[in-house]
């Protein structure tokens, strides 16, 4: 009799289980950004118009400034997001040293019109995180903002309860007022081993159903990328982007509704090639295949990526096999099917200095404000966060130069 009752209860569980699975959202394609062809773009097609346009433009060089100083000895992992009013909000972590218990996640807003940063505020500290998450938290790191389907600002960040960064988990907070106030943190469960070792570094992409695809990575037993499908404050699916112990911190370029490519920070050991590993998907991230390396040097350091509204792609990275003392901007023309990356600007270079004098330029993060410009932040010697703004005219000029070079090469 007791067995019959047990089986009846199992039947109930089975029915509930099937109903639950049936209610789960289907996997959808990526949101496809429409490629805007503006007047400047059209002008490129006519050499006469192009040259006259260049003459007309007063091309401003990239503007550079610093994120506000909080007095902290160590700062790192800055990120950006556009706000509804056109301003840019930055996040970064700051403390006595990376991984210290006094590390907090700071934020400040950049007014594009006045070109100034607001006073920094603390978005999250260790005590707030552990009270909200009802568990011990030892340290914080890597804030990554995103815009959720309902228009709220969502911030993903890393917390560690025990050990180093390999013991990380991802948590998230949301804001109804573009970052002025935040709700209590929520934990994302991403790993079956005590939820250990999942980190986030790169911006999320959107699915057609407005859910988020968040590139994440493991950094403990394995070092590999994972693609998390996020609904509000929980992971509803995830897919592996690479395997083994060689590729972390994926960034994703979408190539349409179903196709995307992920570039990784290489984390290989020994004499393995120090280049950027690449994976691609042809079914909107449901499965990924590793397709070899992009032949750009990578010294086990983070890379930043951006696609502008005209399809032009940007990368910022350390194009070195060792060290992080040079930071460059690369560009790839959307009309170039081979997507050849060209270094178009050296942003920082301490190559001429001795090893001891060289500074670290790392953790770049790129966004666009209006679709045609680019904002970059990166860690400057672990002491400051540098912000650069590349205007649309300057980027367009680089694009023309790139096309001219390509034409000359073909001739």
């Amino acid at each position: 009799m007791s067995r019959v009752i047990a089986f009846c209860f199992l039947l109930l569980a089975a029915v509930l289980g099937f109903l639950y699975i049936d209610s789960r959202p289907a996997w959808t394609p990526f949101t496809v950004a429409t490629v805007a062809v503006d007047e400047e773009e059209q002008a490129q097609s006519s050499p006469v118009k192009k040259s006259s346009l260049i003459n007309k433009l007063t091309i401003a060089h990239p503007q550079s400034d610093w994120l506000p100083d909080t007095g902290a000895a160590s700062v790192h992992a800055a990120s950006l997001i556009s706000l509804k009013d056109g301003a840019i909000r930055a996040f970064w972590f700051a403390g006595s040293r990376e991984g210290a218990s006094d590390v907090v996640i700071n934020s400040a807003v950049y007014d594009s019109k006045s070109g100034t940063w607001s006073a920094p505020t603390v978005v999250m500290d260790r005590l707030t995180a552990e009270k909200g998450l009802s568990r011990y938290i030892a340290k914080l790191g890597n804030p990554v903002p995103s815009r959720s389907a309902d228009g709220r600002l969502q911030l993903f960040f890393v917390t560690v309860s025990i050990g180093g960064w390999a013991g990380s988990s991802i948590s998230t907070i949301s804001s109804d007022d573009d970052g002025t106030t935040w709700d209590r943190p929520h934990r994302l469960i991403t790993s079956p081993l005590i939820n250990l070792s999942t980190l986030v570094k790169s911006p999320a992409i959107q699915f057609a159903d407005s859910r988020l695809g968040l590139p994440a990575y493991h950094e403990w037993i394995g070092r590999f990328g994972e693609f998390l499908r996020i609904e509000a404050n929980q992971v509803i699916d995830k897919r592996r982007m690479s395997s083994g112990r060689s590729a972390i911190q994926p960034i994703v370029f979408t190539d349409g509704a179903d196709r995307a490519a992920a570039y990784f920070r290489q984390a290989r050991s020994g004499s393995a090639p120090k280049q950027i590993p690449v994976s691609e998907t042809h079914n909107a991230g449901q499965t990924w295949q590793t397709i070899g390396d992009l032949e750009i040097a990578n010294p086990n350091s983070a890379i930043a990526a951006l696609t502008l509204s005209n399809g032009m792609r940007l990368l910022v990275l350390n194009n070195l096999e060792a060290g992080r003392h040079r930071l460059v901007l690369l560009m790839a023309d959307p009309s170039d099917k081979a997507k050849q990356w060209q270094v178009v600007q050296v942003l920082e270079d301490d190559e001429a200095l001795s090893d001891e004098q060289r500074r670290e330029f790392s953790y770049p993060y790129l966004i666009t404000g209006d679709g045609s410009d680019a904002h970059l932040v990166y860690t400057w010697d672990r002491k400051k966060i540098r912000h650069m703004h590349f205007g649309s005219a300057w980027l367009a000029q680089l694009q023309w130069q790139l096309k001219d070079q390509k034409k000359e090469g073909e001739q």
Binding site: A13, K131, I137, I189, L193, G222, R239
Partner: protein, 206 residues
């Protein structure tokens, strides 16, 4: 709702810690805690873990434990709690073997070995759910009704999003369950070898 989920998780962790303390007392002092004393000890230690004690601690002890262990799977939790029940019987060795095999094959794959991630099946694979149900049916046919109940409760907890995870694996398995299963199998072999050795000594030909 989320706040309630956090409180429930802390209560679960506190009870699990209290059960572990009672178990440790029995093992260390080689005593059997009377059935009547078990609820009292459970309430005492459970409260000790659940409420913030102040001193140098910012959180309840259970929150520190939870920071390290995460939430136990429903299967682990119920198996652990059931050890204090008066009617509790040892779990079948076949169940432990099955858990050990699943854990040993699951964790390497889930932690980055190859491109197949079995953990992803737990988000909503009908095939995986059917597999879990089949396992529960086998437990019932093998006359282990407790297993049927525990797996059914785990599935229902998953459908109601009882814990933070939306993945069925997190309701069924955790590393502690895998380690327990492997340890119990090793211990079982050790006891059998000892029994064989003793019986060989007693009935050895003169």
């Amino acid at each position: 709702m989320d706040r309630l989920m956090q409180i429930v998780a802390l209560i679960e962790t506190s009870i699990s810690c209290a059960v572990m303390v009672v178990w440790l007392i029995e093992k260390i002092f080689q005593v059997s805690v009377p059935l009547s004393a078990r609820p009292i000890l459970l309430i005492l230690f459970g409260n000790l873990f659940f409420w913030p004690l102040g001193l140098f601690m910012e959180l309840p002890i259970a929150a520190y434990v939870r920071g390290v262990t995460g939430d136990l799977s429903i299967v682990s939790m119920l198996l652990l709690w059931s050890t204090l029940l008066p009617s509790n019987k040892p779990n079948p060795i076949a169940f432990k073997v099955a858990v050990a095999i699943v854990a040993l094959s699951f964790y390497p794959l889930a932690l980055g070995l190859g491109m197949f991630d079995p953990y992803a099946l737990g988000y909503g694979s009908i095939g995986f759910l059917i597999g879990v149900l089949a396992f529960a049916v086998i437990c019932g046919l093998a006359n282990w009704n407790q297993g049927v109940w525990i797996i059914a409760i785990a599935i229902i907890a998953w459908t109601f999003h009882w814990h933070e995870s939306a993945n069925l694996w997190d309701y069924l398995l955790d590393p502690f369950l895998g380690i327990w299963a492997i340890g119990a199998i090793v211990n079982s072999f050790r006891l059998k070898r000892r029994e064989r050795a003793q019986s060989g000594y007693l009935f050895r030909a003169g």
